[in-house]
């Protein structure tokens, strides 16, 4: 059999796609760096360095530590409980624990301020019970501060940790855990000495996603009054009219991200937990009794209640009380369709490119491929609007080039093809969420031992066959899981959608935002509910697909 020319071998083709993916992410980041270095930027740097960045950096670091801690504890504890023990409600809780992921952080933040507010149900009940009339007579916790932001963000983001750690506890570690139990290790020993060290890479991967989301969150932290780096990027850009200054802060933030990613790589270490070739199976679970069972159930139910049921209940309540179902009309359905189609298109691009990057890494071991993967992961950390601004300039330039050429050569008025069609938005989503697919597929591949490749090749399989017949079936769940995560994230995405969508196009998120910016969030409750509901199904599938099935 003749080998195809070097430049068109399967492995090279994947490398091209990987290059394209990395280029998409690099494009806005380079645009950002150029802005930060522009001459007008020099004048604002001293002010930022003296008055803005230290404080914002401090708040952001505290926020990250807090969210990391809370997400880590909730995610690991619940994953441990549902994989190791049997207690009433465990089966339902196992997938319910993923649900909070479907609720956008800005919506959860808004809802908790309402619920805990003076006229919210809690304080109203308290006043009815005690006869107090004004906040001067009692104290009530206010979520609008840093601790509030930490808790609220953690409630939405812990499933990232839960998902990745559970996958590890449930399937990968099963054999080892069973051996430990046979050898008489107590639950505590098994957790601290075996499970946790083993889960470190999964914990690091989950935490990285949660922390990157925290870092580029704007809606929730602004509403809760946290002076984060992301927020100061906005105020610098808008109030000082200094995009350059904003780009500088964004670059500081990017350094923080690179730090996070390096930390993750370090925590992951050189450890590889490739599985034995035989299909792994889940461990048997210890049955808990009485108080212990109740406590375990409670511990797993609390995050679900606060992360998903309270927000959902609030939205349903608003839709019901305000009789918002009348808002369902052709326009709303069109917006729903817009949101779904945009998310679907972006998901396909993201998964395609992400898969290519990981496959290229698997097939060729050149170090620059690893660099491409790293670059492709950066987009997730850049705040949505900043990323969108970075995408906007190069794409608009391309659009203008095409439009001018079409007019000059063919006399056609094409308009702005990419921006006018929504393709720019899909590109922005792709740059933003590519990292999810890369991380997800990579973790799937980590389970596929290299020995399998060797065996397949020895038996005569070429690269396409190896990918299609051996790798494909083995990493399909990981691909599906990554795709679903991306899909849900695209549905929730707001800042890039606001900036880049074409004329007359609204999505559910922009509708919610429109109402909220008028100060009437409640009127957007139906659209918010639809975002959550549209995200619930993928999240449900995700919970099933990535779980340790019996």
């Amino acid at each position: 059999m003749r080998r195809p020319p070097r430049l068109w071998r399967p492995s090279t083709r994947f490398a091209y796609a990987a290059g394209l993916g990395a280029a998409l992410v690099a494009m806005p980041i380079v645009a950002l760096a150029l802005l930060a270095l522009s001459p007008q930027a020099a004048s604002i740097w001293p002010h930022l360095a003296a008055n803005v960045i230290p404080r914002a950096l401090g708040q952001t670091v505290l926020l990250l530590i807090g969210v990391g801690g809370v997400c880590g504890v909730i995610g690991v504890a619940t994953a441990w409980l549902v994989t190791q023990y049997e207690f009433p409600g465990r089966r339902a809780l196992e997938w319910l624990l993923v649900l909070p992921l479907a609720v956008p952080t800005y919506i959860t933040a808004y809802i908790y301020v309402e619920v805990m507010g003076f006229q919210g149900p809690l304080q109203s009940a308290l006043r009815a019970l005690t006869g107090w009339r004004s906040l001067r007579e009692y104290w009530f916790p206010d979520p609008r501060n840093l601790p509030g932001a930490i808790l609220i963000l953690s409630l939405v983001l812990y499933p990232y940790v839960y998902l990745s750690v559970r996958a590890l506890f449930g399937v990968q570690g099963a054999t080892i855990m069973e051996a430990a139990r046979t050898l008489g290790a107590s639950g505590r020993t098994r957790f601290w000495r075996i499970a946790l060290p083993m889960a470190r890479p999964a914990l690091a991967a989950g935490l990285t996603l949660a922390l990157l989301e925290t870092l580029n969150d704007i809606g929730a932290s602004e509403y809760l009054g946290v002076q984060s780096l992301t927020l100061s990027i906005y105020t610098t850009w808008l109030n000082r009219n200094s995009l350059a200054g904003a780009a500088q802060i964004a670059c500081v933030m990017l350094l923080l991200v690179v730090g996070l990613i390096l930390l993750e790589a370090r925590l992951r270490g050189q450890r590889r937990f490739a599985l034995p070739v035989r299909q792994p199976r889940a461990a048997g679970r210890l049955r808990l009794q009485g108080r212990q069972a109740a406590l375990a159930a409670l511990a797993c139910a609390l995050p679900v209640v606060f992360g998903a049921i309270v927000p959902l209940g609030f939205l349903i309540g608003q839709v019901w009380m305000r009789d918002l179902l009348g808002q369902i009309d052709a326009a709303l359905l069109r917006q729903l369709a817009n949101a779904l189609l945009l998310a679907l298109a972006a998901t396909l691009c993201v998964v395609g490119l992400g898969l290519s990057i990981v496959v290229a890494l698997r097939l060729g071991r050149e170090s620059w491929l690893g660099l491409l993967a790293r670059i492709a992961s950066l987009g997730y950390a850049v705040p949505g609007t900043v990323l969108a601004l970075g995408v906007l300039a190069p794409l608009a330039a391309l659009d203008n080039l095409v439009a001018d050429a079409a007019r000059a050569w063919f006399g056609l008025a094409t308009g702005l093809i990419l921006i006018g069609s929504g393709a720019a938005l899909v590109i922005a989503y792709t740059a933003r969420f590519l990292s999810i697919a890369v991380t997800g597929v990579q973790s799937g591949y980590a389970r596929v031992s290299n020995r399998i490749d060797d065996a397949a090749r020895m038996l005569g399989a070429g690269t396409p066959e190896l990918l299609r017949r051996i790798h494909g079936p083995m990493i399909r769940p990981a691909i599906a899981a990554a795709g679903l995560l991306v899909f849900v994230d695209c549905l929730k995405e707001l800042p890039a959608t606001l900036l880049l969508r074409p004329l007359n196009v609204e999505t559910l998120a922009t509708i919610v935002y429109g109402h909220a910016s008028r100060g009437a969030f409640e009127d957007g409750a139906l659209a918010a509910l639809l975002i959550v509901l549209a995200g619930l199904y993928p999240v449900f599938v995700l919970a099933r697909a990535s779980g340790g099935r019996d």
Binding site: L238, A423, L499, G514
Partner: protein
């Protein structure tokens, strides 16, 4: 094709959603929420037959028009802050609005340099107090820093554009030193960290957390109409006649500009003229309790609710100019920390 590929193809092609048709239309880029604009736009289309294609952008409207360059479909840009629209004009993405009708209706100080933007409506930023606990009917903005309000004042973030414009006006009146002292004084009076929105100020007054705060007038109007708990917030507050001691009430504007490369320039002028007409001003200004710029509209909803106001004498362009300095001072005194 397998079902999956078919689905993929469908998704990809429909993401290339049709570019709006070009026959008799005008393209509007707006930072004003569409719900507030739609009644006027629909009435415009009905009266003129010109279709309006709109996109609502929060931030980055100017950057988008600039990046889209000579092929940008943008005709009219509508913004709700003088600083933003002035920055757009300064960035060179606008062109002068040449219309005798506009010149006749809108006083010169409410138009940008060379008519690069035109005010549509005005809104005031006023002090509200607890109806129950505060017994006065008027106030100078300067008194917000009076220590007698210590622990009793609520305000949204100092970096929010509404406060930013207000502090910029203060700067224009009093200069940097006094403004810094004012900011420190206000900060020292706060009952809680500056944040949330304007309506939350009313809510926190109702709950007893504070007695006094700053709010844009249209929120008062919208709360007065609310059928939910916000009505309770409205009932708990009282707007004061607020002004600078040596001037008037601080106002900001919603304003329109024509994009430099507007493909439908004639229709753009028509839309702006229409929005200044008595009919549209009534619809548009009353819908959001703003003060109409057209003097022929006598009985606006805002005036009925709040009485007439005397806008401050500081030109809007000065406020726009002071924005950056005001933002720097807010950082310097750690207003939002």
């Amino acid at each position: 094709m397998t079902p999956t590929t078919r689905l993929c193809a469908l998704a990809l092609t429909s993401s290339l959603m049709a570019v709006p048709a070009l026959a008799q239309s005008v393209n509007l880029y707006t930072t004003r929420e569409p719900g507030l604009l739609n009644p006027v736009l629909e009435s415009f289309t009905k009266d003129t037959g010109i279709k309006v294609n709109a996109v609502f952008l929060k931030d980055g409207l100017q950057e988008r028009v600039k990046a889209e360059g000579s092929n940008s479909p943008a005709d009219v840009m509508l913004m709700v802050d003088v600083g933003q629209i002035d920055a757009a004009a300064a960035a060179g993405v606008t062109q002068p609005v040449s219309s005798a009708t506009v010149d006749k209706i809108v006083p010169k100080q409410l138009r940008g340099a060379d008519n690069n933007w035109v005010t549509l409506t005005q809104r005031a930023r006023v002090v509200i107090v607890s109806k129950e606990r505060v017994k006065q009917d008027s106030i100078g903005y300067e008194d917000l820093a009076d220590p007698k309000w210590k622990g009793k004042l609520c305000i949204r973030a100092g970096q929010h554009p509404y406060n930013n414009a207000f502090f910029a006006a203060y700067l224009a009146h009093y200069g940097a030193e006094k403004t810094e002292a004012f900011l420190k004084g206000v900060k020292a009076n706060t009952a809680r960290k500056p944040g949330g929105g304007d309506r939350e100020v009313a809510r926190d007054i109702q709950s007893g957390q504070c007695d006094i705060g700053l709010i844009n007038t249209y929120y008062i109007g919208l709360m007065s109409q609310a059928k939910n708990e916000q009505k309770g917030w409205y009932d708990a507050i009282k707007p004061l006649k607020s002004s600078f001691k040596d001037g008037g009430t601080h106002v900001n504007v919603s304003a329109a500009a024509i994009a430099k490369h507007a493909p439908n320039k004639e229709n753009a002028v028509k839309l702006i003229e229409y929005m200044l007409s008595e009919k549209a001003q009534t619809l548009y200004a009353d819908g959001n309790f703003e003060f109409p710029v057209n003097p022929d509209v006598k009985e606006s909803a805002a005036v009925k609710l709040l009485g007439t106001i005397t806008p401050d004498r500081i030109p809007l362009s000065d406020i726009a100019k002071n924005r950056k300095a005001a933002a720097d001072l807010v950082d310097k005194v750690g207003f939002d920390n």
